[in-house]
């Protein structure tokens, strides 16, 4: 990498190129101070994972900012209650910092539960809670006993690790819910045809952005499988509490939910498979992985049904994908997203569209993720962990990237440099998951890559 430009000391081990014999990327460490990381904090990790649970009160215990910045931050759709879309905070002041915030927390929780009658409450501890010594767990226990609903502390002090530790704290809160109630087929919210099915799964790490959970759930229900719970998209407390009765956990966002899957495996004997629903190949693989899971051995019909669904869905979308491919063929893309598992799917999805990946990176990938990317990507592809605008913008220029796939914070980097952009994170409003999602993804790429505005920028450059 030295030959490209000077990376900050302390960042050099987190950048590599696919195919290099020494490819061994450092990851999982705290962000380098002053590097302008694209990562947020522990609190962010917890907040995004739990936020979609729609019939719970989510109370941010801390000063006003943490709650305000995460109010309705993702388009996690609920088909029922909308409680998750409200923002609650104890809004701590200087006196609370001095004298402690427990009383305020108790008052806030009591008032909110009285007002909204939620099925559970989550209390997110922010940075200063860890310092002022509030016993959040004790207040939660007290309110839980008084109100008769689960009130769960989420230990998400921002400085106590990385976003990944926030995922873990969220998983710990979810794990404490699982197994505390029994499923009731009468309450099943999905396709009534599978409400009493013998076969059931939980889907972990699906957050129902733009209604994607409905699509994914639909595939499995068409296979004859009951979806006991989705964690946490369009989430309901009671379904999560009864999640221990499912036969299998399907883990989509592995970075955020593998910890919970392991906890459920160890505690309840529920095996898990990893899956991704982005791109045709991976969406198909996600159905086959469930059909062939040992948990469903002796159900050969599942594989047939999966194959039929894949065939039907691929037939529906392939003509348009082929048409779009004609426009995009030969383009160079960059990917920088939160989780590396998704990045893998995107590399494959782009390949299907004739687009090569020149740069791929993530905020929270682990070694296995990056090794997989190394094997998957064309030689020379830049692979980067916990990158920042200065690096990314140089990589984009260097690799003459034409379209960038990332989140809100990556968008202005692309646009300022005159590069197309596709939001694959919080702000997406159309589903990008599943077979139909792949068409949407292709349309998104085309809408950006084929815009005539780039030609105006090119002219400015030539002048």
């Amino acid at each position: 990498m030295e030959s490209y430009f000077a990376l900050l000391k302390g960042r050099r081990d987190q950048v590599a190129r696919a195919g290099e014999p020494s490819m061994n990327i450092a990851c999982g460490s705290p962000s380098l101070a002053g590097s302008v990381s694209q990562r947020a904090c522990v609190f962010c990790g917890s907040r995004v994972v739990l936020y979609p649970i729609a019939d719970a009160v989510h109370l941010v215990h801390g000063p006003v900012g943490c709650a305000a910045y995460t109010w309705d931050i993702r388009g996690s759709v609920s088909t029922g209650p909308q409680l998750h879309r409200l923002s609650f905070t104890t809004d701590l002041r200087e006196t609370d910092v001095i004298f402690g915030g427990e009383k305020r927390l108790y008052a806030a929780l009591s008032a909110l539960i009285e007002e909204h009658r939620p099925r559970a409450a989550f209390v997110y501890a922010t940075c200063i809670i860890g310092l002022i010594g509030d016993d959040v767990a004790a207040v939660c226990r007290k309110v839980s006993a008084e109100r008769g609903i689960p009130v769960l502390p989420v230990h998400s002090e921002g400085f106590k690790g990385t976003k990944k530790d926030g995922y873990r704290a969220a998983c710990a809160a979810l794990a404490s819910l699982v197994g505390t109630a029994e499923p009731r087929s009468a309450d099943y919210r999905g396709d009534p045809a599978v409400a009493r099915s013998r076969l059931s799964i939980n889907i972990l790490g699906e957050f129902n952005l733009a209604g994607e959970a409905r699509i994914i759930r639909g595939y499995y229900e068409r296979m004859g499988i009951r979806v006991q719970s989705i964690m946490t998209g369009d989430g309901r407390v009671d379904e999560i509490r009864a999640a221990h009765r499912a036969d299998l956990d399907v883990v989509q966002c592995s970075g955020s939910m593998t910890y919970l899957a392991k906890t459920m495996r160890d505690g309840w004997g529920i095996p898990f498979v990893q899956a991704s629903f982005f791109g045709l190949d991976d969406a198909a693989a996600a159905l086959y992985a469930v059909a062939s899971a040992p948990a469903f051995a002796g159900e050969p019909a599942l594989a047939e049904r999966a194959a039929a669904i894949v065939a039907e869905e691929v037939d529906k979308v392939l003509p348009e994908i082929r048409a779009i491919r004609r426009d995009l063929e030969g383009m160079r893309a960059a990917i920088y997203v939160g989780g590396a598992f998704k990045a893998r799917s995107l590399v494959k999805a782009l390949r299907l569209l004739g687009v090569s990946t020149a740069l791929v990176g993530s905020q929270t990938g682990d070694k296995a993720d990056y090794d997989d990317l190394d094997a998957l990507c064309d030689p020379g592809t830049i692979i980067v962990d916990d990158s920042n605008p200065a690096e990314l913008s140089r990589f984009l220029k260097m690799k003459r990237v034409q379209i960038f796939i990332g989140g809100v914070k990556e968008r202005p980097i692309a646009h300022k440099l005159g590069i197309g952009f596709c939001d694959h994170n919080h702000e997406r409003k159309i589903p990008l998951a599943g077979f139909e999602g792949m068409v949407n993804f292709a349309r998104e790429l085309r809408a950006s890559a084929m815009s005539p505005v780039w030609s105006l920028l090119d002219r400015e450059r030539d002048d």
Partner: protein, 470 residues
């Protein structure tokens, strides 16, 4: 109590549990964000937040979604160890890294609740970094940024005030760092009033705006300059947060107030500080008055004819010139439109919320055109209090017609069956928030037109006839 008077009193500082139970859907954000926006208006400036990585990233994300521009914010990225043993090492590392990567002319360091709670306030930051008393900072600023960057630290614990306080505190910290009190000044500044720089023989006017849109900053500057005055804006992010494509690769945007100009604030003929009343602690203009004898002119945001007249009168006095013809014509057109549309707006109610600088100015403007401002109850920190006020007002007579404020009022507007007119910060749910104008005769015209049309649109949509003339 008159709405305007109520708006004047800034939210009182906390005291015990009695004041609020819980904040529901906050309509303010935290103070480091305000400091970040203020620092973004310095040429080749960067912000470094002393605290968790998340603060920098959340604030970037929030600002990026409004301005649709890059805004790189560094963090000292606290770890658990930093909270136990102190964050000074990580702060030094962060500064070194951002200096080597960005080569900024200015670094604004704002603290967060985390740093402040362990005692690392602005003074501690300065000590840890071996910077900088006001005199050396001023010398650095006067050297026109040729050497080391100017580093300024400000205390912005999120548990004190809101983004507005952070913005103001940052402006004051900038003025303090670059303009040492006259008596203690080094030789170069022995006569701070001596004219220098591009202003020729005249002295500049110091302008301390509120958290305005880039478009409002531009029009405010143009209004001041129309009187032949040189304006030094502390600060001016009208280009840095609303600029053109980057034809050449760069890491920091063009534009912003040069550091060297900050050092000239003390030589200003007067300072104009815009917005609702400020405690002296947060007032950069109060500091300049005390330190350098620069007269302080405090005015509400110039929205509407009377408030803009007040600003124009001040500029006329400072320049010794009459209102320029172009501005006079703008005023005249605005007044004419008031007359043409007066019946559409008369007696209509609008709910205001959020940033007190805007709430106060908008309330005065609404009263001027015959509308009724409705202000949030209590501290006015959340939409819950705003909605309570709206419901009480509706019960007392007449529904709420409009909700005027940042884009976060959308859900409140839907609940109230009112139409949202988006002004201020942030506007995440519409395009062009950085170009929304409300200031001066021209900006007031745009706001007035939008208000009138919002009301007409309601009437038209509700009408069974579907009239096509209004």
């Amino acid at each position: 109590m008159a709405a305007r008077d109520r708006a004047r009193s800034t939210p009182p500082v906390e005291e015990g549990l009695g004041r609020y139970e819980v904040t529901r859907n906050a309509c303010v954000v935290c103070s480091p964000l305000g400091a970040t926006i203020a620092f973004a208006g310095i040429e080749r400036g960067m912000t470094l937040l002393h605290g968790s990585q998340g603060c920098a990233t959340y604030i970037r994300r929030y600002a990026i979604s409004h301005f649709r521009e890059p805004l790189d914010v560094a963090s000292s990225s606290f770890t658990e160890e930093s909270t136990v043993f102190g964050g000074a090492d990580r702060l030094r590392l962060a500064l070194a890294n951002l200096l080597s990567e960005y080569r900024p002319a200015f670094v604004g360091i704002a603290t967060t609740c985390l740093a402040e709670t362990i005692g690392e306030d602005a003074a501690a930051v300065r000590k840890a970094l071996g910077v900088v008393d006001a005199t050396s900072a001023a010398a650095k600023a006067a050297s026109k940024g040729k050497d080391d960057p100017l580093v300024v630290a400000v205390s912005t614990p999120s548990y004190r005030g809101s983004h507005r306080d952070g913005f103001r505190a940052a402006l004051r910290a900038l003025a303090e760092a670059t303009n040492p009190p006259i008596a203690k000044g080094p030789a170069w500044s022995a006569s701070p009033r001596r004219a220098s720089g591009k202003g020729g023989s005249s002295r500049p006017v110091a302008v301390f705006p509120a958290m305005l849109s880039p478009a409002d900053l531009r029009s405010l500057r143009s209004d001041v300059e129309a009187f032949g005055l040189e304006a030094i804006f502390a600060t001016d992010y009208s280009d840095t947060l609303d600029g053109g494509p980057w034809v050449e690769h760069r890491l920091l945007p063009e534009g912003g107030t040069p550091v060297a100009d900050l050092a000239r604030l003390g030589s200003a003929v007067a300072s104009i500080e815009l917005g609702a009343e400020l405690s002296p602690r947060l007032s950069a203009a109060a500091f300049l008055e005390e330190a350098s004898g620069v007269p302080r002119i405090s005015l509400g945001l110039p929205v509407g004819i009377r408030a803009t007249d007040a600003l124009m009168d001040a500029l006329a006095k400072l320049s010794g010139r009459h209102l320029p013809r172009g501005l006079e014509a703008e005023r005249s057109r605005l007044l004419d439109s008031y007359v043409d549309a007066h019946k559409h707006v008369f007696g209509k109610k609008a709910l205001l919320y959020g940033d007190v600088d805007f709430v106060e100015a908008l309330a005065a403007f609404l009263l001027e055109i015959g509308m009724i401002p409705v202000l949030p109850e209590g501290e006015g920190r959340d939409f819950h209090q705003a909605e309570s006020a709206a419901r009480a007002s509706a019960e007392a007579g007449g529904p709420i017609d409009l909700v005027i404020g940042n884009g976060k009022g959308y859900k409140t507007a839907v609940k109230l069956g009112a139409t949202l007119v988006r002004v201020g910060f942030p506007i995440h749910d519409r395009f062009g928030g950085q170009r929304v104008r409300v200031l001066g005769y021209g900006g007031s015209q745009e706001l007035f037109d939008r208000i009138v049309n919002a009301l007409i649109e309601r009437k038209q949509d509700e009408s069974e006839v579907g009239y096509t003339y209004y």
